[in-house]
């Protein structure tokens, strides 16, 4: 099993519903976020192109954050999801420094926090909060090992990219372009 997500940059309008849904679902402290919107404007005026992305932890296959964690608090769970166990985390910050995407933050309670792909919802057969709430339906989530999952199907049809693949992290959030 390999959970992954695809985000359609052609459909995303940057409304930030996913950000709010995540903050509500996961009790993210005020002023912090586990997912966020990035807008890239590219080109020569007046020929400009905009790409909008909803970003989060990439649940990398080769994650530096798991590697550098001295206590094992950062670890993989089933399907390749990268999680942090709060009562094993000492808050040393090594994992925050090690993530090329800056996807982690120090929770005000001391431990380190980040996106979990809503694994508590997946276990109940639901989609991650961000995916289920998106008004343009621009996100796809599922098991890459299952050829019939939403995410496998859309990745077969469409062109996609990942973020900073040259960092060697093997990210598992795909951006449809």
């Amino acid at each position: 099993m390999r959970y992954a997500m695809a985000v359609d940059t052609k459909k995303c309008v940057g409304c930030a519903d996913c950000v709010v849904a995540c903050q509500t679902e996961n009790n993210v402290p005020i002023g912090y976020c586990r997912d966020w919107i990035v807008e890239v404007t590219d080109g020569t005026y007046p020929q400009l192109e905009i790409e909008i992305r909803s970003e989060r932890c990439n649940h990398c296959d080769n994650s530096p954050c798991v590697r550098c964690c001295p206590t094992g608090a950062s670890h993989y769970v089933e399907g390749g999801i990268v999680k942090v166990t709060p009562h094993e985390c000492i808050g040393c910050g090594a994992c925050i420094t090690s993530c090329p995407y800056d996807a982690r933050y120090g929770h005000p309670d001391g431990y380190v926090d980040k996106c979990t792909f809503c694994d508590h919802r997946i276990q109940d057969g639901l989609q991650p909060a961000c995916v289920s709430v998106c008004p343009t339906k621009c996100m796809y989530f599922g098991d890459l090992d299952d050829a019939n999952s939403e995410v496998s199907k859309v990745l077969k049809k469409r062109k996609f990219k990942t973020l900073i693949p040259q960092a060697g992290t093997k990210p598992q959030v795909y951006y449809l372009i």
Partner: protein, 313 residues
């Protein structure tokens, strides 16, 4: 002109707009670790070489400060932790891929050894000292008898500790400035140089002073070579590493780095030490303080600049 503008809605404290998760604690801890490693390295080296009596300052006197240095360093490391009550989790596993983990274990091993080192030389400072407790007296005799063995263990651990202070940074490929294997040898050399400088203050003879001044000059030359090498490597590498080097070659960190670390922390003390060797009267603590200051600044600047260097996407 073609331009790319990236706007992010993320504003997590200490992460955006650029990373600021490690403050003064980590560079201070790395400096003190390097200094302790340097002192213990030379102390054990001269025991192994059988020249203990000629280098009494290095072997018997200077190590007295090491347990205190390590204690302050560990204190700083502890202050850096945000989930402090769980710090003991560090000592529930050994994770070889995590420099934080094996650094914590190395410190765990080297701290008691540094205390033993002080204890068996306590008569150097308190000539009439006798261990009252029988067990302590036996232990003292045991370590004195096996001092060369103890020195071998210490020298290996001190090299690991010295290299570790650099590898802690270089293991992070997310920060292009840190992601160079030169940082290990550079921080080790800087720690040895700080250690040699500190030993000069404890030297017991003219000869010992001269030898350590020479060692220090040599180490400074190696450091300068490693620094030039590091920037050459960056300049010949990918765009993110070119950008990282540019912070020091015209960018925000140019003045502090070249003035505090290179000129005041390396070149000036090396010249002062050279003049001393030529029998000019220089107060000995001036080059020593400068070397220690440069070594500390190196850690601070690399730590802060590294957190600002990043991949762009």
């Amino acid at each position: 002109m073609r331009e790319e503008l990236i706007t992010s809605g993320r504003l997590n404290p200490n992460v955006d707009p650029y990373l600021e998760i490690w403050h003064w604690q980590i560079p201070l801890y790395l400096f003190l670790g390097g200094l302790a490693a340097g002192i213990l390295f030379f102390a054990s080296l001269y025991v192994i070489l059988g020249k203990e009596n000629e280098y009494r300052g290095a072997v018997r006197r200077a190590p007295i400060i090491v347990p205190f240095i390590l204690a302050i360093g560990l204190g700083a490391l502890f202050l850096d932790l945000r989930h402090k009550l769980f710090f003991w989790q560090l000592y529930t596993t050994i994770k070889l891929e995590s420099p934080m983990s094996w650094g914590a274990w190395t410190l765990m091993a080297i701290t008691p050894i540094s205390i033993i080192w002080v204890a068996i030389h306590i008569q150097e400072y308190f000539p009439g000292w006798e261990w009252k407790n029988v067990i302590l007296r036996d232990l003292n005799a045991f370590f004195l008898k096996n001092k060369v063995g103890l020195a071998w263990v210490t020298i290996v651990l001190s090299v690991i500790l010295g290299i570790y202070t650099g590898i802690l940074f270089s293991a992070f490929n997310a920060r292009p400035l840190w992601n160079t294997s030169i940082l290990g040898p550079l921080f080790l050399t800087s720690g040895l140089s700080a250690g040699a400088a500190a030993i000069i203050l404890f030297a017991q003879s003219k000869k010992e002073k001269v030898v350590f001044a020479k060692i220090d000059i040599m180490l400074i030359v190696i450091e300068l070579f490693l620094i030039i090498h590091m920037f050459m490597g960056f300049r010949a590498s990918t765009q993110v590493q070119i950008d990282a080097a540019d912070m020091f070659l015209g960018g925000a960190y140019t003045a502090p780095f070249w003035i505090f670390v290179v000129v005041l922390g390396m070149i000036v003390p090396a010249i002062l030490e050279l003049m001393e060797l030529r029998h000019k009267k220089i107060p000995v603590y001036i080059p020593v303080v400068l070397v220690l200051f440069g070594s500390l600044m190196l850690r601070f600047i690399i730590s802060y600049a590294g957190q600002m260097s990043r991949w762009l996407y």
